[in-house]
């Protein structure tokens, strides 16, 4: 399986401030791409653009060679995005939360798959506890269970290690490598220092807060 996400001359201007300019990216299957940069350098904005949330950019994006504007549907069907906030409803149990995500992804309800996904993130015994009673780290794990629940080739993860304990971090890191080796692709921002592996590649964004004069 092959996938490719390309950016050509990508630039983003927010409120007359250029977050980045002339960015060329080639992201292929089998890679873990870590986006680095100081606070305010536009990491989250870049992830939002690359995950198709933000259409407010200049330059072109290509998904598997086709312009993003045409390939958006196919792109969204291959994407799994986890943002800053876990997207977990406090009043619903982990199982119910996952049931909604399963349906949003377009697959039929399958309780066995949801239980397996919760097991993979170490939430056995918490399936029917309202998520509001779980710790922040456990809520994050509910969100991470979607990695197992909804098999998608492209993962875009914004600070996925937040609030997770050391064992969980190690397991997630390993999961990312396994995903990349299986032909998937991971785009990630994190303050956590990732282990150097053959799959890991770093993209550094320029200094934040810089104002460029431009016509």
């Amino acid at each position: 399986m092959s996938l490719s996400l390309q950016a050509r001359k990508l630039a983003c201007e927010r409120d007359d401030r250029w977050l980045f300019e002339d960015l060329d990216l080639d992201i292929r299957a089998g890679e873990i791409v870590r986006i680095e940069g100081p606070n305010g350098s536009g990491k989250t904005t870049l992830l939002k653009i690359l995950s198709g949330q933000l259409a407010d950019y200049q330059g072109e994006l290509y998904w598997n060679g086709a312009p993003m504007r045409e390939a958006r549907q196919a792109f969204l069907e291959s994407l799994l995005y986890l943002g800053h906030a876990p997207g977990v409803k406090a009043a619903l149990t982990p199982l119910e939360n996952l049931a909604w995500y399963q349906a949003l992804a377009g697959s039929r309800s399958n309780e066995a798959a949801r239980l397996a996904a919760l097991e993979s993130v170490g939430l056995v015994g918490f399936e029917d506890v309202p998520a509001g009673q779980l710790s922040a780290g456990q809520q994050r794990r509910v969100a991470l269970a979607r990695l197992e629940l909804t098999p998608r080739p492209l993962w875009v993860l914004d600070e996925p290690f937040t609030a997770i304990d050391r064992d969980g971090v190690a397991a997630l890191e390993e999961r990312l490598v396994i995903h990349a080796r299986a032909g998937g692709c991971v785009l990630v921002t994190t303050h956590h220092e990732l282990r150097d592996t053959a799959e890991l590649r770093r993209i550094r964004l320029g200094r934040g807060g810089q104002q460029h004069a431009r016509h």
């Binding site: 927010r14 409120d15 007359d16 004069a213 431009r214 016509h215």
Partner: protein
Amino acid sequence: MWAFINKLRSPKWFYAIGARLQPFFWVAAATLILVGTVWGLAFAPADYQQGNSFRIIYVHVPSAFLAQSIFVSMAVCGLVYMVWKIKVADMAAAMMAPLGAAMTFVSLFSGAVWGVPTWGTWWMWDARLTSMLILLFLYLGVIALRGAFTSRDSASRAASVLAMVGVINIPIIKYSVDWWYTLHQPATFTITGRVAMPTEMWAPLLIMVLGFYSFFIALTLMRTRSEILRRESSKRWVRDLAAEER
């Protein structure tokens, strides 16, 4: 068409073309409003029913026209901004909103003043006045929404969407208010009833309307140009311009 749209993309181009057009509209506005005022106040005949008090029409009607037109132009600018991402359109829309609200207020105020001799009261729930009051609230909503965002790009988009939603609703609001008014059949007559007006009366009115429109265009050009300078102050062409001035 495309060449024109692409030119509009450049605030610099708009700044230059605005400088050339602006004096023409200022002169037109001053002349027309002066002629219309003198003609309307001194030479037009008095109304057989309302006497001289009808002369407030020369402020009331042009401001009411303008109030509605500005909302429509604001929505058109919003559409242009959303579809073609032309920033000048948004700057113009942002500059139009307070002027539109002011014109709505002027038309409401002149209507209230006119109400004293005709109805014997400052306020009557007349169909037109009610529609105007709702329009004022719509303007205030757009202005408040634009002011509520910290990111200017988001503020621009939100205000554009709201202006477009508003402009779809304005005719619906207008017709429903008219219908509501006729249903309740009040005993008074509308102040700007559809009575045929003699030429000596409507000619100065037409001149005043044209004068108000010229004033609106001139003021919007002027304010949009200064907004361009403010928003583009970090760009090279504005810095060069400032250096020349010095």
